[in-house]
Symmetry: C2
Subunit: 416 residues, 2 copies
């Protein structure tokens, strides 16, 4: 197969490819609530009950019948007889009649007969058993009605939702202590390249330690997958095919990082073609770094060939592997990329017609955030380790100018 | 202690409080590289070696002595005799003399005598054993020098660094497979309030299930701590003091979420005062939600009293508990808050003199990101679950106007 016959723009490449990647059958994993944050809901969750289940006071004060307070003011207070106190955590054993009120605390259950609460600040005890009301309230004022948070049967969390701390709280409030989540996809990572040795080895002259297995494993874990390191595969077609076939059988996605020479990249494409249909879907993407990235699929499972160059492998992991994991998890598209706006400090050149991703460091300066480009050959891993994020230079631009506001895509962790 | 004697602005409250919280003694935890991503480096890491350890080619082509190519051009090529090929993953068993070149692949080790590489595109085989060179190269061109990525002894990762995938790759490249990281702080979470029952229970009239233990546990986990749920504590001073004292002995930080009534909040303050010195440092913060938050410390350990209201507890967890965890981890301040810029859709009112945090939903619309305020009483957990983030309204503002660009602080997860 001739390389780079047709370089697709990254977005087009991704969507063409993901169209051939199937979301796995509707298996679910039940996890306890304390393990559900960061997982993706695999089913719609409907509320088994109303929330709250009883009308509650939102303030400290006196539960009343609103009509008994009409016209009450500092200068012309009303007077209500105190029928008792609503205990916290229990129903009041009293029922308010006209002209009556009851002491109530924030969160307390509205007693029978009451429809609103007058805040403590606008009352005083005029004499034992009698409360002076200095302000009128409307029906429902200073209360939460039954079902005001959630009604029974209401959809509280949609399938595909990435669960956050507030969601966990909402489920706890409803007594839902087990959650059906999408199982974590297993992603096998194969490294090839005659010059690559396992990181635990001391490289001989001409050899380098494996980097890509480790960066991609970290990325896969962060994106909700389970990495499975298949090790360094000898640089011949038969060995790579055998290892890739085994990996495909054992996992939901396969990543093959090539060695740095062109021959191993070509071999990856041939292996993906041989594994099965449809095989290679995109070979060559109009982006830098990442031109030699290969996007393939075999029987609905994603198989990706990533460049050996560690910067390129990680950037393309962000651009392609992470969205594929989202699809496998059935996760809904996030409304917003978690990008960070910063001011570019110096001009960055880019070749027109190609989408460039430039590593930048973020620095706070005089209340403003600066994006400082990190230059360095793209095969230097510490170039990327020194960067906090990437800025995208659109294909129709020939660069980005100093002083421009740019959107920085953080590399790796959310809490940059 | 009278409540709300003096409401401090949030930033001032935080810094006054954190000054009394000690970063734990320099214990470290050694973790394997595959478990290090997302942890905080507990020691400076120096490189044990140069990277790369040998000069490498960055292209496919011919290794040469640059001076042999001077003046070479399409119209006036030079001719070099082919001395052999550099195998991938090994040193070449050849040494280039003047007038010689050797086939080399991307990532290959520069042979002895070579100082640069001519790209394959600018060469052709003129006759067997002879290569035509159509372009000159400078010394070092198309190569990476020894130590160009990292020199031996260089600081590669600083103590306090939150480790990211690229860092993991850099460590793998250096053969560093165990990393000293900050141990995860243990955070005990106590719930109080007579109306609060464990989430597994069916609430009786007047009772509500515990929400705050769960939201705060999720938040603590995300921020790198280990939550320890101490359960629902009966709403009396003796029980709460005993439970808080036990929690303090067993953990690095203690969170006490009050019930919703004022009496349990006051009790929390008294308990913190009784636990030890300095006790309550800030009682009452000029923010909404969160006014009744209590920031305390006992013998260097943070003890926080959070409002019972679940929205308030979670927002104040973000504003105070997360920064305290960063301090316990010894994590360096991030250069940038991971905020998201969006356009506010409608006016939001705020009381001047107070810092307000308004929940918003993010929506993409016509290439722009919109921040849609989510209104709802602040004790409704699903109000917060429906929001993607919070916008801050500065104390000197009386609100934010529709059409304004606002910074949205994501709630909870990084990969919103």
């Amino acid at each position: 197969m001739p390389e780079f016959l047709n370089l697709l723009p990254p977005d087009e490449a991704r969507s063409k490819w993901l169209g051939q990647v199937a979301t796995p059958a509707h298996t679910v994993e039940w996890v306890p609530l304390e393990g559900a944050c960061g997982r993706v809901a695999a089913q719609d969750i409907l509320s088994p009950q109303a929330l709250p289940q009883f009308a509650r006071s939102t303030v400290d004060g006196y539960a009343v019948q609103a009509r008994d307070t009409y016209g009450a003011a500092d200068t012309l207070p009303g007077y209500l007889s105190l029928a008792g106190e609503v205990p916290m955590g229990a129903a009041a054993n009293l029922s308010l009649g006209p002209g009556q009120c009851a002491t109530i605390h924030t969160g307390g259950m509205l007693p029978e007969g009451a429809d609103s609460v007058v805040m403590l600040e606008y009352t005083q005890t005029s004499r034992p058993g009698e409360i002076e009301i200095q302000r009128s309230v409307a029906v429902g004022e200073n209360t939460i009605a039954v079902g005001e948070d959630i009604t029974q049967g209401q959809l509280v969390l949609e399938r595909g939702r990435l669960l956050r701390p507030a969601d966990i709280g909402g489920l706890a409030a409803l007594g839902i202590l087990k959650v059906a989540v999408a199982p974590k996809p297993t992603v096998s990572i194969l490294s090839s390249g005659d010059e690559v040795v396992a990181s635990k080895n001391t490289p001989a002259p001409g050899q380098v330690r494996d980097i890509n297995s480790h960066t991609l494993a970290a990325l896969v874990s962060q994106a909700g997958g389970v990495p499975r390191l298949a090790g360094i595969i000898p640089d011949d077609f038969g060995s790579l095919l055998q290892a890739a076939r085994a990996a495909l059988a054992q996992s939901d996605m396969v990543l093959i990082t090539a060695g740095s020479s062109a021959s191993t990249r070509d071999m990856t494409a041939s292996v993906i073609e041989t594994l099965g249909e449809p095989g290679v879907i995109v070979h060559g993407i109009n982006t830098r770094p990442g031109k030699p990235t290969i996007l393939g699929a075999v029987a609905g499972k994603a198989v990706v060939g990533l460049p050996g160059n560690p910067v390129s492998a990680l950037v393309n992991g962000l651009l392609f592997v992470v969205p594929a994991l989202r699809k496998l998890l059935g996760a809904k598209e996030p409304a917003a990329q978690r990008s960070i706006r910063a001011r570019l400090t110096i001009n960055v050149a880019s070749q027109a017609g190609r989408e460039d991703w430039q590593p930048v460091q973020l620095r706070a300066s005089a209340g403003e955030l600066l994006a400082v480009p990190v230059f360095g050959k793209s095969n230097l891993i510490f170039t990327l380790a020194n960067a906090d994020g990437l800025i995208k230079i659109e294909p129709n631009a020939t660069g980005a100018a100093a002083g421009e506001l740019v959107e920085v895509l953080p590399i790796g962790l959310g809490d940059l």
